[in-house]
Symmetry: C3
C-alpha cells in the first residue's frame, strides 16, 4: 500500500493543487449565549474550506454567511467553497429562522497551508499486468451513502479478491478526494492506465437498499460495462442502465475524459442527486445498511469473476453437434420436454464458440446465465470439445 | 431574383414541358336559367387544364363531365387532367344531385398554347458557396394549407435570413408549379445541387394549427434531417417523424430521386392526404391561421440557425476536465444539488468535442438543448478551451 | 429420387451410426391376465430402442421400467433410449397407478442389428445449380404435429414446385430420422451445401391451426429468413419471429452448426415444446387439420415465389421520376386523395432501384406488399423503366 502525495502548487493536468485545509473549531455564539452551528458537534456545520475568521456582527450581516435548505428544514446542507475565499456556516433552516436578533460572535478557527492531496493505493498482482481498477473517494465529511459506502465496499471487495486462489488480472484499489484527487492520480497513472486498464469501476452510493443503477463508461460497451450488465441481468434484481454523462458524476468524469477514455463505469444503488438526502446531514447511517453493503460487495465480486472467466472459446467439432451422449454429457433417456439448463448452455456455447465471441458475448446472444456458461465451458473444455482461442 | 422559363416542348429530364393553359371563363347554364359551377366565382369549379368547349347537352350527358365528393357534399373537389384532353366541372355533391333535368349550355373558354413553365428564384449569398434550398409550389388554385401556406412561410423566412448579420451558407429560394416545375428546375440546377447543396426543405402544409410532421430525406439522416429533428425535439411541441416515401409527397419526390438523392426533407403541420379538407374547397383560409404561419417561419429559422452553428469543436484540455473555476465558468459555491444547465452543457461539449462529432451530434448524444450548446460553445471558445476543427 | 444409406458403424462427422432397431411385439401381462402397454395397439407404449427382454417380475420391480406423465394422466409419453441399453414401457399415468400388485410377464421382442440410417432425397432441377433445401424428419412413431405434418407438407410442396412452368433455382427435398439423419446427410452433402445452398427450411410442426412461428437461421437475416418474414408480414396472419436457438430444435441445429452455418430457418405453427400434447400420444390426428396443412403448403410456396422473384432491379430514369402518364402507367385524372396501391408500389420500386437492394429489401424499406412489387417490377420492366442488374 502506497500513499501518493501531491504538493500544494503542483500542476496536475489542467489543475493546480490547492492549499490544504485544517479546521480546529468553528461556531457562532448568539445574543442568548447559546452556541449554534458548532463544528465540534457536526462537521457539516462549517462551510468546507472556510477561511479563518473571528469577529462580532449582528444577525443581518451574519445571515450572508449562513446556508440552509428551506425545503428540508431539518437538514444541514453540505457545501464547499474551494475556489473563492469565504467563510460560512450550514445549519437546519428551522434553526436559522429561529435565530434571535442581536449581536453574534463568530469563530472560524481554520488554516489553509502548503500541504498536499493524498491518495491511498494498493495492488493485488495477477498473472497478467493488465489491470482492473476500483476507485472511490474520501472527502464528504459525515456523509454515508454518498461517501462512506464507497470505501467500505472497496475494502471488503479487496479482501475477497485477495483471497482468490489465482488471479488472471492485476487489481488496483485507490481512495482519494473527489475531482482534484483523480486529476492528480491520472497525472501520475493516466498513461499507464491507457495501456493496461481493461476495466475499472468508480464505487460510490452503494449503501442504501434500493434498485441498482449502472452508469456506463463513455465507451458504452467496454468490458466493465459488459460484465456489469450481464451480472445485473442474471441477478434477477431491479436495475437501471444509464448512459455515460460527463456533466453529473463522480471521478468517472475524469477517467472517461476524452483524452483518456478509460473503460470505467460505476455500479451504484440510488445514485447521487437522485435522493433528497443527498448532500445533506440526512445522508447518514440510517440511510444505509450493512446488508446492502455486503450485497454490493458480492455483486462487484460477481463482476470480477465475470471478467476473470471471460475467454474466447473455439469449438473443436464445428460441423454438426458433437455427440454429447458418448461423452456422458447428455441424458440417456431422450424425449423429455425440456433439456436441462446445463445442456442448453453447452449447446449454446458449442454453437457460438466460433472464435468471434467471448463468453460475455455468448451470454448476451444466448440469453443463458453467465454462471451456467462458465460451468459449461469447464465441462466442454475437459471433454476437449472446446479450447481457448490462441490470440 | 430571376424568373426561369422552360418553353412548351422542351425536354426536361424524362419529361416534356406541356402547353400552357389559360382559363378566361367557364360555367354551365341550366334549364332554369341559373349559372352553375361558375369559374368566375370559384376557380376550383373548372377541372384544371380543361380543353375549350361550347355546346348544349342534356343533364345525363353533362354528368359524365361533372365531379363531386359524395362523402363531403359541401366541398368542391380539386381535380386536374394534365395528360388527357378533357373538359369538366367540379362542384359540391349537394348541388350536383339537385341539378334540374333538361338542357344545359356549357361554356369552357380556355386555351392551351405554346408558353412556358415559370420558376421564381432568388439567392442570398453567404461566406460559402455551399447552399441551403427552400422550395415551395404555386399551382393549386384557391387552396390554403396545401398551397398558399408554403409560399407565405418561404417569403417571411427569406426576410429573416436576409436580415442575418452574416451568413455562413448561401440560401436559395424557389417557387414553382409542383412536379413539372421541380423536374424543370432540376434539369437546370441538379448537377450544381449535387455538388453544393448541404441541406434543403420542401415547404408545404405549414398553415394549420396542429402537431408538426417532419418527413425525412431519402438519405434519412442528412444535415437537413438532423437539424429539423433536434429543433423539434427541443421545441417541446408535439411532432411526428416519418421516413421518406417516394410514393406520396411534394417536390421532395424529385429532389430525392435516386439519381440526385439530395439532402432535402420537409417540415409540415398536418400533411397532404391526412386531413379531410385536403384537395377540396374546404382547405381555405379558415383552415389556416397567421399565428401558425408565423410559428412555422420561426421554427424554420431555428433550423437555419442550427445549421449555421453546426461546427465540429475540439477541446484543448482532453485529459481530465479543465478547471472551469479559475476561468470564471463554474459557481464558486459547490455542493448544490443541481448544476446549472449551462455548466452541464459545457461539460458535455468538452467531453464530446473530440473531433468526431458536430454540434448536432453532441445535442443528440448528450440530450442537451442545442441552444444551450451553442452558448456553451461560444463561452468555451472565448476561454480557449475549445477550437474549431481544421478540416 | 434416391435412398441414401449409411451403415451401422460408419463414422458421420462426430457420430457413429448406431445399430438398427426392429420391434416385433411387446407387452406386459398382469396377474389379472390382462395385457397392458401393448405395442400392437399403440407403438408409443414401447420405450423406443428397447433391448429385447423376456421374464417375470413383481409390480415393484416392473415399475422401474415404466414411464408415465403424472400431470397428463391420460397421455402415453414418447420416450427413447438410444445411447444406453434399456427396455421399458410408456403408459398413461391413470393406467400405471391402477396396475394390480402381483407377478407380471414381460415380453419385449425387439432386435438391434447391423443395418443403416436411411434418407429419402429428391431433386427438381432449375436454371441455376444454386439450391433451395426442404428438410423434414420421419422418426417419431404415431405423432402428428411434431412428425407427420412435416413430411406431408413437404410432399405437397414438392408437387407445387414440380408444377412450376420454370424454376430459377434447383430444389432439393429430404426426409430422414432427426439428428443422426441430418448428421449423416451433412457428412455427404455438407460441402456442396456450403457452396450452393441459397436458402433452406426445416419443415416441422406445421399441422395444428395456430399462429405461425418462424425460427431464424443462425445467420439471422439470410435469404430464407428474409423471404419468410416478408411473406408472414404480408399474410395478415398472426406470427412470431424467434431468433436461432441451437439448444432446442430440429435439424436446423445441425444445418446451422457453426462449421456449416447454412441459410436454413424453420417455419412452424405451434412449435415443439410449446404445447402440452408435444411428445405424447395426444399429439395425434385430432391436433392437426387438413386445412392447416394445406395453408402451410401455400405459405411455403409463397416463400418459394418470393425467392424466385427476388431480383436486383435498376431504374433507367434515376434523375426525377419518370413520366408514367405518357406510358399509360398513371391515372389521367389527377388530384385524387389516394394514389392507387399499384402506382405507389411502382414509385417505391423506381426510387429504391439503385442497384443496392433486391426486391425483398425494397419490400422491407417501402412497407409495400411483395406481391404488388412483383407486379410493379413486371410492368416497369416491360416499359423499359427498370432492368435487371448485371452482376
Amino acid at each position: 500500500t502506497k500513499r501518493l502525495k501531491f504538493q500544494t502548487g503542483k500542476k496536475a493536468l489542467d489543475w493546480t493543487v490547492p492549499k490544504e485545509w485544517e479546521a480546529r473549531e468553528a461556531y457562532i455564539i448568539g445574543p442568548d449565549g447559546k452556541r449554534y452551528a458548532d463544528f465540534g458537534k457536526n462537521n457539516l456545520h462549517l462551510l468546507n474550506y472556510s477561511v479563518p475568521f473571528r469577529g462580532k456582527m449582528n444577525l443581518e450581516e451574519l445571515k450572508t454567511h449562513l446556508y440552509s435548505l428551506p425545503e428540508q428544514p431539518d437538514a444541514i446542507p453540505y457545501l464547499t467553497s474551494y475556489y473563492k475565499a469565504r467563510w460560512g456556516f450550514c445549519l437546519p433552516h428551522r434553526v436559522l429562522t429561529a435565530l434571535p436578533s442581536g449581536e453574534y460572535e463568530v469563530v472560524v478557527d481554520t488554516r489553509l497551508y502548503d500541504g498536499h492531496v493524498e491518495i491511498g493505493e494498493t495492488v493485488l498482482p495477477g498473472q497478467s499486468t493488465r489491470e482492473i481498477l476500483f476507485s472511490s473517494y474520501l472527502c464528504h465529511p459525515s456523509l454515508a451513502n454518498n461517501e462512506l459506502s464507497g470505501p467500505l465496499v472497496t475494502a471488503f471487495l479487496y479482501r475477497k479478491i485477495a483471497a482468490m486462489p489465482k488471479r488472471r488480472f492485476t487489481y488496483r484499489f485507490a481512495l482519494m478526494p473527489e475531482t482534484i484527487g483523480s486529476i492528480c492520480y491520472l497525472s501520475l497513472r493516466g498513461a499507464s492506465f491507457k495501456q493496461r486498464l481493461v476495466a475499472g469501476y468508480q464505487i460510490t452510493c452503494v449503501g442504501n437498499p434500493a434498485a441498482w443503477t449502472y452508469k456506463r463508461s463513455r465507451r458504452g460497451s467496454c468490458l466493465a460495462d459488459r460484465a456489469a450488465e450481464i451480472i445485473l441481468r442474471d441477478s434477477g434484481a431491479a436495475y437501471e442502465l444509464i448512459v455515460f454523462d460527463p456533466s453529473v458524476g463522480s471521478d468517472e468524469r475524469q477517467y472517461c475524459s476524452p483524452g483518456y477514455n478509460l473503460p470505467v463505469g460505476s455500479l451504484m444503488r440510488t445514485m447521487y442527486g437522485r435522493y433528497p438526502q443527498y448532500h445533506t446531514s440526512l445522508d447518514n447511517k440510517n440511510f444505509i445498511s450493512f446488508e446492502t453493503l455486503a450485497k454490493s460487495v458480492e455483486v462487484y465480486f460477481d463482476m470480477v469473476q465475470a471478467i476473470e472467466n471471460n475467454r474466447v472459446w473455439i469449438n473443436k467439432v464445428a460441423r454438426g453437434e458433437p455427440q454429447l451422449g458418448r461423452r456422458g454429457l447428455y441424458p440417456t433417456l431422450g424425449g423429455q420436454k425440456e433439456n436441462e439448463q446445463e445442456i442448453r448452455a453447452m449447446l449454446w456455447l458449442l454453437n457460438l464458440a466460433d472464435g468471434t465471441k467471448d463468453l460475455l458475448d455468448v451470454a448476451v446472444v444466448s440469453g443463458q446465465p453467465l454462471k451456467l456458461l462458465i460451468t459449461a465451458a469447464s465441462k466442454l473444455s475437459k471433454a476437449k470439445l472446446i479450447a481457448l482461442k490462441v490470440s
